[in-house]
Every structure is written in structure tokens, then in C-alpha cells.
Amino acid sequence: MARNGGFSRRRRSGSADGFDLSPTDSEEAHVLAVDDSLVDRKFIERLLKTSSCKVTAVDSGMRALQFLGLDEEKSPVDFDSLKVDLIITDYCMPGMTGYELLKKIKECSALREIPVVIMSSENVVARIDRCLEEGAEDFIMKPVKPSDVRRLKDYMARGFRGESCERNNHKRKLHDHSSDHLFQSSSPSVSPASWSSTSLTSGSADPSSPPSVCAFPLRMSWTWGGGWFWWVGCVWEWTFLPWIQYYNVHIDPIV
């Protein structure tokens, strides 16, 4: 699988104030681990390193934001060159919880594409749903296992930046504007360029499927300059469309 843009492009050597940087390798994915528990941080860091990841472990959400450059305070070291491929954070942390950190990351246009995974030792469904709806890629129960880390590698490998994912689409699905609900068509929407040639009969190119009843999303008429097109869309929707549906149901239903 190709990895696109998921790796640190420039290296930093040594450790910076408050951050635990591991030796770098430009081929390795860079994971930011956030956990207030030292034991858990050590454990997850080791787990990720054995999976060939470069790990930066911080002990709080504020530190994580500081590392990502979202903190208002000026960091003594310039971290602009470091790119993070995945953020894995504990849910229950003093000060800023993992959920709050997730929200802040998703609110930032520069960082929202970074996959965020939440960890928790408590299996609270409402908590899990909330995190997934906010855009978390996954919710892992502690203690984290090597199989969980393999799954994390998949998220990084699939290059979640800018790509949608079924698992991450609770929120995205809620915001998805479906223009087809009015028409309930099983056939693909007709593109704006071909709307005028939409067949009004059942003689469509594919006889096994009903005609393109979802032919003319109303929004298209708006984008095409409103006015006349809007009226055409209305006429289509109110006149021809019901006839097509009637035809499909009563005269020549596709079984």
C-alpha cells in the first residue's frame, strides 16, 4: 500500500523540552502518544516502536497541542517540520481529556486529517460513540495489544489524510448531503451535463434497471444559475417524475 505524505520529512535529533523523542528514521510513521500514566506511556511507546514507528510520548493534552503547534505559548523548539501520522491518546486525563484533545485537533484545519485513536480502560458505549462521532478513527480498550497496533498501522498505511473511511464516518455521514432522498433511485445520478438527455421511458441503456428517476437534483439547478433551470427542475420533479414512478410500479415493474 502506498503511503502518501505520512512520514516526517525532516529529522530532529535529541530531545526537546518535555518531549520524549525517539531516534528518527524518515521511513517510519510518526505516532504521537498521549497518556498521563507513565507506565502506560512506556508500554505504548515500546509497543509502537516494535512495530517500526517513531514515537513521541507526552503526558497531557496540553503538551500534545504544544507539540502539534496549537498551543498559544511559543515552543522553544520549532516543531513545524515534524509531521505526525497518527495520534493515540488516553481518554481519561486530568486537565484536558482525550475527547477534548480530539475536538481541538478536529477543529484545526491543518491537523484534522491526522487520524486520532482513543484508548480507555473503561468500556462505556456513550463515550465510544461520542469519540467516533467527533471523528476518532478507533476506540481501543486498554490494555493495548499488538493486534491493536497492527490495526493502527493500517490506518496510517491507508493514508487517512483526506480520505474517508467507513469507520470514521459517523460524523461525516451525518453531514453528508444526500440529494437522492427525494427520488429514492437505485441508479446513479445523472450528471448535470446529461440531464437533458435523460430517458423518460423505460428504454434506458440498462434495461434491467429503472430509468434514472434521480435525474435532477434540485441543487444542480441552483448551481447552474438558478432561474430557468430551477423551473425546469420543478417541472421535472412535479410532472415527469411521478409518471415515471407510476410506470415503474404499475405498468412495467422491474421484478
Binding site: 498521563d36 500514566s37 507513565l38 507506565v39 502506560d40 512506556k42 508500554f43 515500546r46 509497543l47 516494535t50 481519561c92 480502560s121 486498554k142 490494555p143 495489544k145 499488538p146
Partner: protein, 112 residues
């Protein structure tokens, strides 16, 4: 060499005994599997950190228990941390006790 082998056997027996008595679980095996030549003291480091962390938490819990009335939320929070780190290293019995303690906190059962 003989003595060294003897020590190894003793350690192995102690380790098995901890498993048999339920003090540690398979999570500890995960910890051992993360140890290799590049990080030969990983288990020792993590367990040392755990003991230090636990000692700190136990002191905080004792202080919280000395207060009156009991702050169950604070106690629950401390036990949550303790349970989390115990779970990460596979300290099964400690984790179970933490869970029980938290149940008492939720029920505001100071006697428990």
C-alpha cells in the same frame, strides 16, 4: 554457571507461581514479549516504574482515606489510575482489588 542456572530456575518457578496464583496474567507475557536484545531491561524498567507509581498512588489514597468526610470522587479517580497501570502490566489481583474498591466508591460505601 551452576549457580546461575539455579537462579534462573528459581526465577522461572517464582514467575510460574505468580501466574498460578493469579497475581499476574497474560498481559505480563505481552510485556515480556516486548523485551528483546535492543531493550533487554524493558520488563524491569516498566515494573520499576509501576512500583514507583503505585507507591505514590497508595500514599495519595491513604491521605484521601484519612479525610472526613470521604471524597469518593477523588478516591475513584486515584483508583482508576492505579487500576489502569495495573492492567497495563498484567497485575491481575491488584486490578481486581481496584475494581472492587471503585465499586465501593460508586456506592459511597466508606466501610468497604
Amino acid at each position: 554457571m551452576d549457580q546461575r542456572n539455579q537462579f534462573h530456575r528459581q526465577v522461572a518457578l517464582m514467575r510460574q507461581s505468580l501466574f498460578d496464583q493469579g497475581y499476574i496474567d497474560e498481559q505480563f507475557v505481552q510485556l515480556e514479549e516486548l523485551q528483546d536484545d535492543t531493550n533487554p531491561n524493558f520488563v524491569e524498567e516498566v515494573v520499576t516504574l509501576y512500583y514507583r507509581d503505585s507507591a505514590r498512588l497508595i500514599v495519595s489514597i491513604e491521605q484521601a482515606l484519612d479525610k472526613s468526610p470521604l471524597d469518593f470522587n477523588k478516591l475513584d479517580s486515584l483508583m482508576h489510575q492505579f487500576k489502569g497501570s495495573s492492567s497495563s502490566i498484567g497485575a491481575r489481583k491488584v486490578k481486581a482489588e481496584c475494581t472492587q474498591f471503585r465499586e465501593y466508591c460508586k456506592a459511597e460505601n466508606g466501610e468497604g
